[in-house]
C-alpha cells in the first residue's frame, strides 16, 4: 500500500512513472526524498531524472557542471542538505537491486528505516518565551502558551530585566488564577447571554464587505445564524486565496485570478442556433478570450469533448469571415437544438467549479484573490496557492477538506469576525465554547432542534426545548429513562440544579482546623 501511495504522490507531482517506481523501490518515501541528496538518487536513476524529480518536488538542486571539477561543487551541496540518514541507503539499495525482484520488494517495504520527521505544529519558543518559561519552571508553575507568547512579545519590546520580568510573571500568574472559571460555574448560560446580548444590537441585514466593496457577503445577524446553524453552504460563500510567491506582482496575480475564475463558453463567445442548417455555431470573441486568458487550445479541448460531432472552423457572420465552432446535429429537432445550445453555452472552459468571480485586492504588501463561490479542495490543489493561509467561509467545506479541528477554528474565526465587523467584542472563550459544543462529536453539528439541543440524552431536557409532546410520547413508547443529570430536568422535577451552589455536597468535618 505504502509503495503505491508514494508512487501516486510522486506521479501527482509530475515525476515520471518509471522514475517514481525506481525511487520507491529503492526505499525512498516522500519525506526521505525531500531530504535526499542528488548524489544518492543518481545511483538509482539517471542524473537527469534525479534532477528533474527533485525539481518537481520543489527542492533546489545545484546541478553539478558536467564532468569538470565535480568535487568542488558537490562539497557545498553536501553541507547544505542536512540529510543524516541518506548515506546509509545506497548500500542497501545496491543490494536490493541485485536481489531477486520479489524478495527485493518485500525487503524494500521493511527497509526504509528513515524515521519520518514529525512536523511540529508548535513553533520553537523564542528566546524571550524561553526566559518566561524558565521563570515559571523555577516556581513550578504553568501558564497557557498564548499567555507566554503574549508576555514574551511585550517584554521583548520593553527589554525587561530579569527581576522585572519575574515580577510581571508573578502578576500574570495571579491575574490568571483570579480569572479562571470556578468549577460548577454555568459557563454555557454565561456564553449564551454574552453572545446573545450583543446579537440584539446587530444589524438585521447587511450586504457588503469592508475589504472588497464590489462583493456581496452576508454579514451581521443572518451570518451569525448561518454559522450557528451549521448550514451546508452559506448564502454567500467566499474564499480568500493567498499565493505563495509573486503575490506582489499584479500581472501574475491577474493571471492566477483568471485561472481560478470559472469561465463558461458564453462568457467568451457568441453562441447561436442555426435552425436552417440544424446546427449550433459558436463565434469566439478574441478580445474577451484574451481578457479571460483563454487560448484557442483551451477551446479546442473543451469543444472537442462536447459531443461526437467534428469541430470545424467555418465562416459565420453575415459578411465577415469568422472563426467558429460548429456542431451539427444528426437529427432534425428544434427541441434538441435548443437543448444543445444551452449545454454548449454553459460548458465550462476553465477555472474552478463553483467560483463565479475572482477579484484581486491589495492587502498589506501583497495581493489576495477573493472569490465569490468557494471550492477549497480545488483551490488548495493549485500549485501556486499558499495552502497555509488560503481559506473559505464555508465551514462545512472546511470540515470536509481539512477536518474537525479546522472547522472548530473556522467557527471561532467566522463568529468573532462577524461580531467584530459590527463593532461588538465578545470574549473569544464564549465563542470557543459554542464551537467546541458544535464540533466535539467529530463533525459539525448545528445548535438547535436538529443539532445539539435535539440530541440531548435527557427526555425532559429535549421536551423542555421544543416539540414537547412529540418527545414525551416517543420516550414513553420506547421506555426511555431520565437520570436527571442535567439542569433542565432538575428544574422540571423541582430539585436543585447541578450547577453552582446546587452542585455542592456538604459533609460533616470531624476535625476542625484542618483543610
Amino acid at each position: 500500500m505504502a509503495r503505491k501511495d508514494t508512487i501516486d504522490a510522486l506521479r501527482r507531482r509530475k515525476v515520471g512513472a518509471k522514475t517514481a517506481a525506481l525511487l520507491v523501490d529503492a526505499g525512498y518515501t516522500m519525506a526521505s526524498l525531500k531530504k535526499a541528496k542528488l548524489k544518492d538518487l543518481e545511483k538509482v536513476v539517471t542524473q537527469e531524472d534525479a534532477i528533474r524529480a527533485l525539481k518537481r518536488l520543489g527542492i533546489k538542486v545545484e546541478v553539478p557542471p558536467p564532468k569538470k571539477a565535480p568535487s568542488k561543487k558537490k562539497a557545498p551541496v553536501k553541507k547544505k542538505t542536512p540529510a543524516k540518514k541518506a548515506p546509509k541507503k545506497p548500500a542497501a539499495k545496491k543490494a536490493l537491486k541485485k536481489a531477486a525482484k520479489k524478495p527485493a520488494k518485500k525487503a524494500a517495504r521493511k527497509k526504509p528505516k528513515v524515521r519520518p520527521t514529525i512536523p511540529s505544529k508548535v513553533p520553537e519558543p523564542s528566546a524571550w518565551e524561553k526566559r518566561v518559561m524558565r521563570i515559571l519552571q523555577s516556581k513550578k508553575r504553568e501558564l497557557p502558551s498564548s499567555l507566554i507568547q503574549n508576555l514574551a512579545a511585550r517584554a521583548q519590546k520593553l527589554k525587561l530585566k530579569k527581576p522585572d520580568l519575574e515580577k510581571v510573571v508573578d502578576y500574570l500568574w495571579d491575574q490568571y488564577g483570579a480569572n479562571l472559571v470556578d468549577p460548577n460555574e454555568s459557563v454555557g448560560i454565561v456564553s449564551a447571554q454574552s453572545i446573545g446580548e450583543p446579537g440584539t444590537q446587530m444589524t438585521m441585514r447587511t450586504f457588503h464587505y469592508a475589504g472588497v466593496a464590489e462583493m456581496n457577503v452576508t454579514l451581521g445577524l443572518p451570518r451569525l445564524i448561518e454559522i450557528v446553524d451549521a448550514r451546508r453552504v452559506p448564502s454567500t460563500p467566499v474564499m480568500e486565496v493567498f499565493v505563495s510567491d509573486g503575490a506582489d506582482d499584479l500581472d501574475r496575480m491577474r493571471k492566477h485570478a483568471t485561472e481560478i475564475e470559472m469561465t463558461h463558453l458564453e462568457d467568451i463567445a457568441d453562441t447561436e442556433a442555426d435552425f436552417l442548417n440544424n446546427r449550433v455555431v459558436v463565434y469566439p470573441n478574441v478580445a474577451k478570450m484574451r481578457s479571460r486568458g483563454v487560448t484557442w487550445k483551451d477551446l479546442d479541448h473543451t469543444l472537442s469533448k462536447m459531443r461526437r460531432e467534428k469541430v470545424k472552423r467555418v465562416e459565420g457572420d453575415k459578411k465577415r469571415k469568422m472563426e467558429a465552432y460548429v456542431l451539427d446535429l444528426d437529427q432534425v429537432s428544434y427541441k434538441r437544438l435548443q437543448k444543445q445550445l444551452e449545454t454548449v453555452k454553459t460548458s465550462k472552459i476553465k477555472g474552478i467549479d463553483g467560483v463565479h468571480r475572482a477579484i484581486i485586492r491589495r492587502r498589506g504588501d501583497e495581493y489576495v484573490i477573493y472569490t465569490e463561490g468557494s471550492n477549497l479542495a480545488a483551490a488548495l490543489e493549485l500549485p501556486y496557492v499558499d495552502p497555509t493561509r488560503t481559506n473559505s467561509n464555508n465551514i462545512t467545506e472546511i470540515y470536509e477538506v481539512l477536518g474537525v479541528e479546522a472547522a472548530r477554528n473556522a467557527i471561532v474565526r467566522e463568529a468573532t469576525s462577524t461580531l467584530a465587523e459590527q463593532g461588538l467584542t465578545v470574549d473569544i472563550r464564549h465563542i470557543m465554547l459554542v464551537s467546541d459544543m458544535m464540533t466535539n462529536a467529530g463533525d459539525v453539528k448545528a445548535i438547535g432542534r436538529h443539532g445539539i439541543s435535539g440530541r440531548k440524552s435527557s427526555v425532559l431536557a429535549r421536551a423542555a426545548f421544543e416539540i414537547t409532546s412529540h418527545h414525551l410520547l416517543k420516550a414513553a413508547v420506547t421506555g426511555e429513562v431520565d437520570y436527571l443529570d442535567g439542569v433542565a430536568e432538575n428544574v422540571i422535577v423541582g430539585q436543585p440544579v447541578t450547577l453552582g451552589t446546587g452542585a455542592v455536597n456538604l459533609v460533616y468535618r470531624t476535625s476542625a482546623k484542618e483543610g
Partner: protein, 67 residues
C-alpha cells in the same frame, strides 16, 4: 486547584462552596445552635456570624467533591 488573587494563593473553596457552607451554618445558628467563637455583642445576624466562623475556619463542614 483553586487559585485566587494575591500571590496565586490556593483557595480552599470555590465561591459556590463557600456560599453553601456559610448558608448551612447560618441556618444552624438561626435555629439556635451554639456559636463556636466569642462574638461581639452587636453581631447578631446569623449569616454574619457564620461568615466570621468561616473566615476563622471553625465551621465543622466541608465539601465532598465528585469528579
Amino acid at each position: 486547584m483553586l487559585r485566587g488573587k494575591g500571590g496565586g494563593r490556593i483557595r480552599d473553596f470555590t465561591r459556590f462552596e463557600r456560599a453553601r457552607i456559610i448558608g448551612a451554618r447560618a441556618l444552624q445558628i438561626a435555629m439556635g445552635a451554639p456559636v463556636i467563637l466569642a462574638i461581639p455583642e452587636d453581631l447578631v445576624d446569623p449569616v454574619d456570624i457564620a461568615e466570621l466562623e468561616f473566615e476563622k475556619k471553625l465551621i465543622p463542614i466541608t465539601v465532598r467533591r465528585e469528579v
